[in-house]
């Protein structure tokens, strides 16, 4: 049984900076979501100790605030990298601004989301970096992150002596008061949880169907690309 066995080449897709951003985001988001839900509804660990001997809730809040600043710094760094990084990390990947991007989004919607048959199989339809639908979803997540950061900073502004959170005080009159700000901050946490669920599933899906190192690429930085797509003359 003779079958044509395709050749793959290793392509450096995710630079170290991108991978660092990704995993720091993962760990800080997990910490923020857990501490966030604890702050919203603290578990009953009532002891008969005097309050002066205990500070666990204060520490949970401290972890939440400190991690939030780490994540904000991380995102600011990623914005810089959107201008300094390679072609897969650049800002224009995340915005479907041309016909090609929309064609790719349509392709991903048909073939990967609705699982329709890929009739005219074209290699160029297989994304090397982000597919353009995923990239656009990350842009939406970026906007959601800005809302989450702005509401969080607005809530802490009055307890902070730093100018940075005070820059976000305008969010409170915009939403009408602290109650509304806190509410939005809580509600948006769920959007992150839903994003994580869908994102992890689709990574596993692509890895399973395409079998070219989708999941491990965020660790090693490399993806495997069909050798026909690589110009062999530029050795």
């Amino acid at each position: 049984m003779a079958i044509a066995i395709p050749q793959f080449k290793r392509v450096y897709v995710w630079e170290l900076a991108v991978r660092f951003f990704h995993w720091l985001t993962v760990f800080s988001m997990i910490a923020l979501i857990i501490t966030g839900f604890v702050i919203a509804n603290p578990p009953a660990i009532n002891s008969h100790a005097e309050a002066v001997q205990s500070y666990w809730f204060g520490y949970v809040r401290l972890i939440h605030f400190a991690t939030a600043y780490i994540l904000i710094a991380n995102v600011l760094f990623r914005i810089y990298w959107a201008f300094a990084g390679n072609r897969f990390a650049r800002w224009d990947v995340f915005l479907p601004l041309n016909r090609k991007a929309w064609a790719n989004i349509l392709h991903v919607l048909r073939v990967d989301i609705l699982l329709m048959k890929d009739k005219k199989h074209r290699l160029s339809n297989i994304s090397i970096g982000h597919n353009r639908l995923a990239a656009f979803a990350y842009f939406i997540m970026f906007l959601i992150f800005i809302v989450q950061a702005a509401t969080g900073l607005a809530l802490i502004a009055d307890n902070s002596s730093w100018w940075f959170p005070k820059m976000f005080k305008w969010v409170v009159p915009l939403l009408g008061g602290d109650i509304a700000v806190r509410y939005v901050h809580h509600l948006f946490t769920w959007l992150f949880l839903i994003f994580i669920t869908v994102h992890v599933y689709l990574v596993l899906y692509h890895d399973y169907v395409e079998a070219r190192g989708e999941a491990s690429s965020m660790i090693s930085g490399y993806k495997f690309v069909r050798s026909e797509r690589i110009d062999n003359n530029t050795e």
Partner: protein, 376 residues
């Protein structure tokens, strides 16, 4: 013996001396006022000078859609005594619930004062203003509240809104807001407005804000929502005497629990202290006797915008507006997250069925390569 001058021509000092108080009493009063307004002791001299030279400030107090609870609160002001405020420092020319005159006489007194003191008087507003159906849901002397408010605001130097109704809309503006009630700042745009929210506000805070304007003729420093910072600069939570229990993670789980009796933090019983700006924690009520949290009752956030609609009061997370009762963010979040996870599971099953050929193709390639491994 000094000749008595008409009330609104007098300075503060003259009005006090004319009543038979000594200069020593006057200085004590000035010192007390300074402390009360949160001023440095070095400011007392300036305050004395102001009171010696400044004329008493005329005040018009309008009542619209309200329960008069703010007036009730105001007349219980102990520090300073409300009598001192009304009689010595301001000239309260119109307030239809407290004044002796009634009917046409009262309205005439108001019109006269507004004419004589055009551009100089303070307008105090208590209660929200209905706008629906031409504003017919609140009329005074046959005129709508909107009309009355616009007329009295026209000549005001500044407006002070007493209570959550005139500051935010209050209970009238709560969903579904049948009369289209709005706060004062939705109607009057061209005057400085000092919001003194609360349901009711703390009496000493009300008199403190009036005195600040009466003494200095300036608006106190306001926050982004228009509230004076000296009284609304802190959350109830930040000045709460139960705060150590919060930081220690010691919470009362129910009203009848041992923890509630011990005075643990009321956060889990829906306390709105962490999102409410007010002076309850340090000024307290009834002459500094107590305030809700001190009495074992969680703050309901009565000084915050839209607090009536942010219920239930005894739960941490409010219902999502427009989603029916018992629809908290967490319930909605769980449903959507479950749908996402379920959708992913279904998609995974469908992938195995619909991508069968691709998966088989990959496997064939992989197995063929496996059989050609050389260095085994």
């Amino acid at each position: 013996m000094k000749t008595l001058t008409p009330a609104r021509e007098e300075t503060f000092y003259e009005s006090i001396i004319n009543k038979g108080y000594s200069r020593r009493d006057f200085l004590k009063f000035a010192t007390y006022m300074a402390a009360f307004m949160g001023l440095e002791h070095t400011m007392v001299g300036q305050l004395v000078k102001t009171m010696e030279t400044k004329k008493r400030i005329p005040v018009i107090w309008e009542h619209f859609q309200e329960c008069t609870g703010c007036s009730e609160s105001f007349i219980r002001s102990d520090h300073p005594l409300v009598a001192d405020v009304i009689l010595d420092t301001i000239s309260l020319d119109y307030t239809d619930t407290l004044m002796a005159a009634a009917g046409h006489n009262a309205e005439a007194a108001k019109q006269q004062s507004m004419k004589e003191n055009y551009g100089k008087y303070i307008l105090i507003v208590e209660g929200a203003v209905p706008t629906k159906d031409g504003g017919v849901y609140c009329t005074i002397a046959g005129r709508t509240a909107i009309e009355v408010l616009k007329e009295s605001a026209a000549g005001a130097a500044a407006i002070i809104t007493f209570g959550s109704c005139s500051s935010w809309g209050g209970v009238q503006a709560a969903s579904p807001n049948p009369t289209g009630s709005v706060p004062v700042d939705a109607i009057i745009k061209d005057k400085p407005i000092i919001k003194v929210p609360g349901c009711p506000p703390i009496p000493e805070v009300m008199t403190g804000v009036v005195l600040h304007y009466a003494m200095f003729g300036t608006i106190p420093e306001l926050d982004a929502l228009g509230r004076p910072k000296q009284f609304y600069g802190k959350r109830v939570h930040d000045s709460c005497y139960r705060r150590p229990y919060f930081d220690a993670g010691l919470f009362a789980e129910s009203f009848d629990s041992e923890e509630a009796k011990k005075g643990y933090c009321l956060y889990k019983l829906g306390c709105r202290g962490p999102v409410t700006y007010n002076a309850c924690g340090f000024m307290e009520w009834n002459n500094g006797l107590s305030y809700p949290i001190k009495s074992g009752y969680p703050c309901i956030g009565c000084a915050e915008n839209n607090f009536w609609d942010n219920g239930p009061f005894y739960e941490r997370l409010e219902n999502v507006p427009g989603m029916g009762i018992e629809a908290t963010a967490d319930k909605i979040g769980k449903v959507v997250l479950g749908a996402a996870a379920g959708g992913a599971a279904l998609h995974a099953i469908a992938t195995n069925l619909l991508k069968h050929n691709e998966l088989k193709h990959n496997k064939r390639e992989g197995v063929a390569n496996e059989q050609h491994l050389q260095d085994q």
